[in-house]
């Protein structure tokens, strides 16, 4: 396009853009260099109302603790929706310039999608910079920006492990596989022994699980991306390895491909169609509630490994509390986000009553947490297993600034190829092409490798 034309139209757009309709909204807070304790104290004694959007059940407990500590602040909790609907509503409200919450639950993989559009408040000046030591390293890496900004406070995580049916394993003489190779052999043996049973289910449109698998294998598809410069590498050796591994097992018919969290999947989990569920640290309690009929038959173990003898895992899910910079009460909002996720009583309740898997070192070492014996798992200390897995998650993994789109494109390319027995490794290139095309439309400078 002719640059002169572009400048002129750019000016016209600035004056007459659709956003002009919404210019009456709040202007973002410019975070100060430093906020003094006196300013914080003053703010925390000013009667204030905060809007907090989250879908964590029972969050009222943490809110009550906060309101007890800061009686002048009232927090209104809204459960607008779960996941996609929640973010769609937040983005709509942010665009409208009004109605957006001060603080909201944001999952790790979507923190960059809000920081790239300049909607998050850097929490460093409000004391968050000093919290680094309290959190597990790889978790802290997920919420910090390229220039050291603290975009959110971690709330819970999902290091990836394996839940398995010990009764089915015993009945068919299967050892708990420690490597992916052993896992593949077990998948073949089990399905041959009982055609009704699959060692595991590969959910073909679950981009988050696949990302966690790439993470474990050492692939870092968006590693090195910085602001407008996006790096994409989905065709790396590690990515191909993970892809062809699952594609082969599915093609052999020894692994099922039901969409997860669907009626079919719940039914199958109850019926004993799957002998393992490769899942995150939030999985054990979730399974306990949804497959109650199989109580006592499950156990937890670390994920099988690519290299025998090593211990590496990835992360699937988990959330943070983030503050949006349209807030009128940045100090109160920032203190709230920090309080609920670091106060000992608040975080302990999250871990032991709401069963959110903790990101803080203190709780991961707390015997009251790790020593919890779950009936559903035959009295096994499941938290201890996952606390150990949490230590093995690599900090080398970066999210794209539009992870929703990445997952959607995964389902349409690689996921479908695996499910339908097409060339899944070739589909990695399709996946990358779609992402590159999308990123260019969004104004990124894309570097593919």
């Amino acid at each position: 396009m002719n640059p002169r034309f572009r400048r002129r139209t750019g000016l016209g757009a600035a004056l007459a853009s659709p956003l002009a309709f919404t210019a009456c909204g709040r202007t973002p807070v410019q975070p100060p260099e430093h906020v003094s304790q006196a300013e914080i104290d003053e703010a925390m004694h000013t009667p204030t109302e905060l809007d907090f959007w989250t879908w964590v059940p029972g969050i009222e407990k943490q809110v009550a603790l906060f309101e007890e500590a800061y009686p002048d602040i009232t927090v209104d909790v809204t459960n607008a929706a779960q996941g996609a609907g929640h973010y769609a509503k937040i983005r709509t409200a942010l665009r409208a310039g009004r109605g957006a919450p001060d603080v909201a639950q944001v999952e790790f993989q979507l923190v960059p999608s809000f920081s790239i559009t300049n909607h998050l408040l850097d929490l460093r000046p409000y004391g968050a910079g000093e919290l680094e030591d309290r959190f597990v390293d790889w978790v802290w890496a997920q919420v910090t920006g390229a220039n050291g900004e603290v975009w959110a406070i971690p709330q819970d995580t999902g290091p990836l492990g394996m839940l398995y049916r010990t009764d089915l394993f015993e009945a068919h003489g299967i050892e708990v596989p420690e490597t992916w190779e052993a896992f593949a052999d077990a998948a073949r043996a089990l399905h041959e022994a009982d055609p009704e049973v699959y060692l595991t289910n590969f959910p073909p449109s679950q981009g988050a699980f696949f990302s966690a698998s790439l993470w474990q294998a050492g692939a870092d598809p968006f590693g090195g991306s910085d602001g407008p410069d996006l790096k994409v590498d989905l065709t790396s050796e590690a990515a191909q390895r993970v892809t062809s591994y699952w594609a082969d097992l599915v093609a052999e018919g020894v692994v099922s491909t039901d969409p997860d969290f669907s009626d079919q999947w719940y039914q199958a989990a109850n019926r004993g169609k799957y002998a393992t569920w490769l899942t995150a640290a939030w999985g054990p309690v979730f399974l306990q509630d949804t497959a109650a009929s199989t109580s006592g038959k499950w156990r937890a173990a670390p994920l099988p490994q690519w290299e025998a003898g090593s211990q590496v895992s990835g992360n699937w899910g988990g959330s943070t509390s983030a503050v949006f910079n349209i807030t009128e009460h940045p100090i109160q909002a920032a203190v709230f986000a920090q309080f609920i996720n670091t106060d000992p009583e608040s975080t302990k309740a999250m871990a032991t009553e709401q069963y959110l898997f903790p990101p803080t070192k203190a709780l991961l070492e707390d015997p009251e947490f790790t020593g919890l014996e779950l009936e559903f798992y035959g009295g096994q200390r499941v938290n201890e297993v996952f606390a150990q897995i949490s230590e093995t998650v690599s900090p080398e993994f970066q999210w794209s600034p539009f992870q929703d789109q990445v997952y959607a494109d995964y389902g349409a390319t690689v996921g479908t190829a695996i499910a339908e027995g097409a060339d899944a490794v070739a589909a990695l290139q399709d996946w990358q092409d779609r992402i590159a095309e999308y990123a260019e439309f969004q104004g990124f400078t894309v570097e593919e490798s």
Binding site: T9, A13, I116, A268, F402
Partner: protein, 317 residues
């Protein structure tokens, strides 16, 4: 049909008189006109606020591109040129067109058959039957899709279980090959009753003199249906068809619900509406989503227009 012309003849002078009186009243001046505007004002205000303004806003919106990097830029018709060459959108349009060809003729044929059967007066329990066929329309389409999704279920669904019991395998209703047919079946279930009621109402409006005349001429029930009822139903059938064109091209609820059951079959761009939704709320490409919606609107308008033109020409010839 002599009976027809004679019965109409005495009406004309009266219509003329009414028309004249109307004209005289209308001539009384602007006070009446003002009252008229007042009467339509509530509608016009709601129509403007809820329909015209959002439409114009979306049209305006579709001329921009808001990027994560670089902000908001005026791009003119670039979003439209992208849409017309977007293989995902074109594929979706092709899919709903196929859906239309597959589903609508069958649905309207059955609706017509039911309407004629009810109108024939030969059916026992006609009221119950009419209600029974119409009832699915009262079920919200999301609920209908959930229900059928359960029926189709490959492991847990009753059809699969029944087949299993008799030692057969149920077809994979949620597989890539059958999915469009499965959705067509849901829509068929939902809307046959609705179309039947439209056609039935039109049938009831046909003057009975025509039937009397036909029976005097010796026409039986079949002959009457073929030579009188169906030709006179033509405008109602055209109306149902136009509704169906719009409904087919805007297909959204059913695939959106079924997507949770078969996410790899119903991809994000399965239908144009689903595509627009995902562009806006997954990819945050709001401007392009607006353009895609307008393209879909144009396609529907053009489709409906061509259909009307074709049926009009045929009725004249």
């Amino acid at each position: 049909m002599t009976a027809d012309t004679t019965s109409k003849a005495p009406l004309t002078p009266r219509i003329g008189r009414i028309a004249k009186r109307g004209k005289a009243a209308g001539g009384k001046g602007p006070r009446y006109a003002k009252a008229g505007y007042l009467f339509v004002a509530p509608f016009m205000i709601a129509f403007t606020a809820m329909f015209l303004v959002p439409l114009l806003y979306a049209a305006w919106f579709s001329l921009f591109r808001e990027q994560m990097i670089g902000g908001n830029v005026f791009v003119g018709l670039e979003n439209y040129t992208r849409a017309f060459t977007d293989p995902l959108l074109l594929e979706g349009l092709g899919r709903v067109a196929l859906f239309f060809l597959l589903q609508v003729p069958l649905m309207l044929a059955f609706a017509l058959l039911f309407a004629l059967a009810l109108d024939s007066g030969l059916l026992r329990l006609a009221k119950t039957v009419r209600l029974g066929i119409f009832l699915p329309y009262a079920v919200p389409s999301v609920v209908a899709a959930l229900m059928w999704g359960f029926l189709y279920g490959p492991d847990f669904g009753p059809i699969a279980q029944l087949a299993d019991r008799i030692g057969a395998t149920a077809p994979d209703f949620l597989g890539a090959d059958l999915m469009l047919g499965s959705i067509a079946n849901i829509v068929f279930w939902e809307f046959t009753g609705y179309n039947m009621i439209l056609l039935y109402a039109a049938l009831r409006a046909i003057p009975t003199e025509l039937y009397e005349a036909a029976s005097v001429d010796g026409a039986g029930a079949w002959r009457t249906a073929w030579s009188i009822k169906i030709p006179l139903l033509r405008p109602a059938i055209v109306l149902c068809s136009i509704f169906s064109i719009i409904g087919s091209f805007q297909l959204f609820n059913e695939p959106s619900v079924m997507r949770t059951l078969a996410p790899n079959v119903i991809v994000a761009d399965y239908t144009p509406n689903l595509y627009a939704y995902n562009l806006a709320f997954v990819g945050q490409e709001y401007n392009y989503a607006a353009a895609v919606s307008f393209v879909l609107g144009f396609v529907i308008m053009a489709g409906s227009y061509v259909f009307m033109l074709a049926t009009n020409r045929r009725s004249r010839s």
